[in-house]
Structure formats: C-alpha cells, structure tokens
C-alpha cells in the first residue's frame, strides 16, 4: 500500500501497432517520476493510460490501492496538465479552475476556498477574472497547473508542460514545479523529452524506448551507470563519446591505443576477449594540470572549437574516431594545437558491441 500508482502487465495496441508492451511500473507515494524518451516512445501514451483517456488492451492500473483500470478519468483521483495548456477559452481563469469542481457538485464555499488557496500558491490571484486569451504563456501554464491543484488529488500528471514555453520561462517554471512538489508532497508523473528537466526534477527517471522502459533509476544512476548504449547516448549533453574496440583481460584495445580499465566495476566480472564499445562523457575527460593524475593519457589535435561561455567544447579525433572534450570556458585553446588529455576508466562505461548492454 506504499505505492501510489502501480502499473501491471500493461499492453496497449492501436490496431496492429503495439505501443506499450508488458509494462510494469511502481511509483511510490510522494515520488516525482519522470518518463523520458524521444518522440514516439510511448511515454505520453502511458500517461494517457494512467489518466484513463485511453482504454488499455491488457493489464491493470492501480491508483492508491484501487484498481482503476475501468474507471472514468475524473474518478481516478488524478489531475493533469497538458502541453498546450488546454484552457477553456470561453471561460475566465476562475471558470477554468472551478469547472471540474462544479462538475463534482461541490458546495460553493468549498469551491471558492480551493480556488483561493490554489491561486495563492501559484500567484495568479490578479488574473482570476481574465480570459485565457489575455494571459501570457507562462501565466496560462500556471492556470493549467492550478486546475489540477484545485482538484485536491494525490497524483499529478504532467504531459510535457513546459515544451511550449521559451527557454527562460521554462527554467523558471521548472523550479516552481519542483518547489510545488516539495511543498505538496504529491505523487507526480512527468512526461518530457528534455533531459535537463528530467535530471533536475526527478526522484527517479524511467527511460522509455519502443513502448518499454529501458532503465528505471535515480538521475545519478542513469547518468553514471547507464544500463545500455541507448541510455548512455540519450542522457548527457553533449552526448557520450563511443569508441569501438576490444576488451582483452582488463585492457581496452582501440586502434593502436591500449587503455587499462583499472577501477572499472564490471557488472558480471571482467569478460575475456570480446568486441566492446567504450563510452566516455566529454565532461569526464581531463585536461591541463589534472592530466597528470589520470590513469591513461594521450595527445590529440584540436579540430574544432565550440565556446558556450561556461565551457568550451573541443572536437578532435582519437585514433581516427571523432571525440569530444569539454574544457573550462576560461581555457585557452586554438585549432590545430596539440592537446594532452587524460581518461579515468572508473567513470567510463563499457558496452557489449552486439547486445549493447553494460558490461
């Protein structure tokens, strides 16, 4: 009974297309779970199933210990926030907030009280008499969150709520959603394709692909120990460098280089001779004075420089394979220069070349 939402053996098919396949997921009370994946991976579909907006083909959905598989969306104890806000254009903000409560036939005083509380939390009190058309994007999304808030439910569902906002507003509202979660302690399920949102907001992240959950874990686990090559490449920006080579004992052989994998934690003990991919994040490559401490060191030629202000990305080649290095924004570097870099195998990832699973 400690789980807020449980999804058991869920299948969903549109005609002959299998969108979700035998999906199992347990979400604890008060947990912030982010469903992350590229478009078409089934993450929004899963959210719609939880909301009851789609009939499932097989399996069960439990919310707060009740089997709600056949329940109407309004009976499930959920509130939902949509990407396009979906505010009722002909109603005022107040009308939007009260629509669900009126449908539930709550007494007027109760409705007024809940609207007051929600509008205080979201700071939309001065907007209550306005129509959605007279609001900015950020204000609209606040009202949309308010509409979920007044329902006084245990589970909040967010369907890419920040995707329509500009970058600055997105960052602001992201913080606000996180604060809201800390204060309310509701269960929140949040769908996004933005990994920054996922990493900053989530207690746990579920990476989805092809209607299945690839990896479920804390942001730390997902970033540090990606379970396969897809997750490793999906998380992190700039994305991980992949080097195709062979593992021989505890040495990774790559072109004419041989990288000792000392300090690397193998999942199932160290494998013998096999084709392997080594993944190293650009931010885990050290340069400058720190190179001296790295177990493996080599020289590369700087091919391209992308300054971003806070850091500088350097494109180069490592034994014929494109390789990116992240340096401090203050570092002086120029094209054609030889750069000494250091790698630390304990922070790298090894994947089997065939199965793409973590070794």
């Amino acid at each position: 009974m400690n789980n807020s939402v449980e999804i058991k053996n869920l299948d969903l098919e549109f005609g002959s297309v299998k969108v979700l396949q035998n999906l199992n997921l347990e979400i604890g009370k008060g947990e912030f779970l982010v469903l992350l994946g590229s478009s078409g991976c089934g993450k929004s579909t899963l959210l719609n199933c939880i909301a009851g907006l789609l009939d499932v083909t097989a399996g069960q959905i439990h919310i707060n210990g009740n089997n709600v598989t056949w329940s109407e969306p309004s009976e499930r104890g959920i509130g939902m926030v949509f990407q396009s806000y979906a505010l009722y254009p002909q109603m005022t903000v107040e009308g939007n907030l009260s629509f669900g409560l009126k449908n539930a036939k709550l007494p007027k005083t109760e409705i007024a009280q809940r609207i007051k509380r929600a509008s205080e939390v979201l700071q939309i009190e001065p907007l209550l008499k306005r129509k959605p058309a007279a609001l900015s994007g950020g204000q609209r999304q606040r009202v949309a969150i308010g509409r979920a808030l007044v329902r006084d439910v245990d589970v909040f569902l967010f369907d890419e709520p920040l995707s329509n906002l500009d970058a600055k507003l997105r960052a602001d509202l992201r913080v606000e959603i996180k604060r809201l979660h800390q204060n309310l302690e509701n269960t929140m399920i949040y769908v996004t394709h933005d990994q920054i949102e996922a990493m900053t907001l989530a207690d746990r992240i579920a990476i989805m692909r092809g209607g299945q959950i690839m990896q479920l874990g804390t942001p730390d686990e997902i970033y540090g120990q990606p379970i396969n090559k897809y997750v490793a490449g999906f998380i992190g920006s700039p994305s991980m460098n992949f080097l195709d080579g062979r593992i021989k004992g505890r040495e990774f052989e790559f072109g004419d280089l041989s990288i000792p994998m000392t300090g690397y934690n193998f999942v199932n003990g160290s494998p013998t001779d096999s084709e392997t991919t080594l993944g190293i994040r650009p931010e885990h490559v050290v340069t400058g004075e720190l190179v001296g401490n790295a177990p493996f060191q080599t020289d590369v030629t700087v091919g391209l420089i992308e300054p971003t202000g806070s850091d500088t990305l350097v494109d180069c080649e490592l034994a014929g394979t494109p390789f990116r290095v992240r340096m401090d924004g203050q570092a002086k570097v120029s094209v054609g220069e030889t750069l000494r870099i250091g790698l630390n195998p304990s922070r790298a990832s090894l994947f089997d070349k065939q199965t793409e699973l973590r070794l």
């Binding site: 309004s74 959920i78 509130g79 939902m80 396009s84 979906a86 629509f99 669900g100 129509k131 509409r147």
Partner: protein, 301 residues
C-alpha cells in the same frame, strides 16, 4: 550600447514608392469594374422596373429610371397577385417558407452538430463505416430518392404537410452538415476535450459547455448554408407540398409563370426581389460572425 554616428545615406531607402496609376492597376480595377457592372445591372433593372407602372414599362426603356415611382406592384406581389385559383400574393408562401425553414434549420443543425461531435471525439465501434455511409449520401442525386420518399411520407400520413417537408429537409441536410461539424470539431485541440474529461464532464457536459461556445463560426456557416439552401429549394417544395402548403419559391413560380391575362413585369420583378430578400439578409447579418476566431487563447497563441 554601441555608438553609431549618424550619416547621410544615398540610394534607395525607406518604403518603396508605388505609383497609383500604373498599367497593372488600370487593368486590375478596369476588370473589376466591368465585372461589377455585369452583375449589378440586372439587379438595377429589376429594382427600377418594379417601381414603374405598366404604361411606363410598355414604352420599352428598360434602363431609364421611373418617371413616376409607384409601390403598387410591391403591394400587389405581396398580397394580391394570383397563383392559379387563389389571389393572395406571396404572403402565404412566405409564411409557409418560414414555417418550413426555421424548424428544418434548427433540427438539421442540432442533430448534425451532435453527430459531428460524437464522430470527432467519442470514437465508437464502426464510427468510420457510419461516417463513410453518411458521406456517401451526399453524392446521391436527389432525383433518385424523390419517388421513394413520396411513398414513405404517404405511408406515414404526412405527405403534403409542412411537417413532412421539414423531415425531408432535415434528412437531406445531414451528410454535408455532419461532415462540416465533424471536421470542425476534429480541428479543435484534442487536449481540451481530454482536460474536460479529467474535469469530470460527460458527453453532454462537454458538448454544451466546452464545444458549443467554441463553435460559433461553424454554426454560423451551417445556418447560412441551411437557410439559403432550404429557402431557395424548389424541387422538394413542389413535390412534397400541396397548393396551400407551397413554399415561397413555388408561389413565385406560379405568379411569374401564370399565363392568363397581361404579363405584369413590375409585379414579377417585385415578387422576385421579395423572395430573394431573406437569403440576402442572412448574408449581410452573419458576415461579421464569420470572421471571428473563437478558439483564440485555447492553445499557445
């Protein structure tokens, strides 16, 4: 701030100058003018003829304005002109047309909008087949169904009554109106419908409180379509009505085509204008509603 010192520019700058009288404009407005005359002239002839007395018409100056303005032809067309045996002008036909048009427009739009809403948002099993059959109905020529419907109405005992005609108009409006409404409701953001469901609104709740207020433009289009279509209908009126229930268009035909006595051109012109006045008014009144974008603010603006 970057400091830019002011300098004098040479060469083209600012808005590009446009000539008012150019070959392009002369050609364009010339064509428009000719086309406008072409369409306006018959109307002009109708109006001035309807205001002339018969002696003046016999002079044959079709384009000259009336020397002596008289409204007698209008009065006669409305209340005295003879259609066959009865001589009470267009008034009976006008009220018949009103009694046919108002309920037919209301019923056809009410049913078709709910149809369209259900087809767009509440996909039921076989919805696509149902829709296809309905659309197919739009392509069947009316003539094919004339006689079967006569028999159906006769068996139901409403052949020749206004009620029978209302039912026929309602049914024949269904395919095109359902298509119109379904396409409109499909174009409304689906998330709005989902949000309303999460908020606990049911089939009718969503229809009346969410969809209807957002659908003023499409209802306007439907009203225009149906009022003009049903008001101008001649075929169904002549087939399914009796002389005492004839709509205005049939009455007009009977006035204009009556062969006995003198051809009263002024009365005919007046009668025709009166009959055309209703669809014309609809166009003028509802034009503004057309343009309004009601869905503004629902989604990212």
């Amino acid at each position: 701030m970057v400091d830019v010192s002011p300098s004098t520019l040479s060469g083209p700058q600012g808005p590009k100058p446009r000539k008012v009288i150019s070959r392009r404009n002369i050609f364009l407005y010339g064509t428009l003018f000719v086309v406008a005359i072409y369409y306006a002239l018959p109307l002009y002839v109708m109006i001035i003829t309807s205001l002339k007395g018969m002696p003046e018409i016999r002079l044959g100056n079709v384009f000259s304005p009336p020397v002596e303005v008289t409204f007698a032809p209008w009065v006669k067309a409305w209340s005295e002109a003879c259609t066959g045996l009865t001589c009470d002008g267009l008034s009976t036909g006008f009220w018949n047309s009103v009694k046919i048009t108002v309920p037919s427009v209301f019923m056809s739009i009410a049913i078709a909008s709910v149809n369209g809403y259900a087809l767009a948002n509440w996909k039921f099993k076989g919805a696509d087949v149902f829709f296809t059959i309905l659309i197919f109905g739009a392509f069947i020529p009316y003539q094919v169904m004339l006689y079967p419907i006569v028999i159906m109405l006769r068996e139901m005992g409403i052949y020749g009554s206004l009620g029978g005609l209302v039912i026929v108009h309602t049914i024949f409006g269904m395919p095109i109106l359902t298509l119109l409404f379904r396409n409109y409701f499909t174009s409304l953001p689906e998330e709005l419908f989902k949000a309303a469901r999460v908020d606990g609104a049911g089939f009718w709740g969503i229809y009346f409180r969410i969809m209807l207020p957002m659908s003023v433009p499409i209802f306007t289009v439907a009203v225009i379509l149906q009022v003009t279509g049903i008001w101008n209908d001649f075929l169904f009126g002549v087939v399914y009505a009796r002389p005492e229930t004839y709509p205005m268009t049939v009455a007009l035909n009977n006035i204009v085509n009556s062969t006995q006595g003198v051809k009263e051109y002024n009365v005919n012109m007046a009668a025709t204008i009166i009959t055309g006045l209703v669809p014309l008014t609809i166009y003028f009144v509802s034009g503004k509603l057309f343009v309004r974008g009601i869905a503004a603010g629902a989604v990212k603006g």
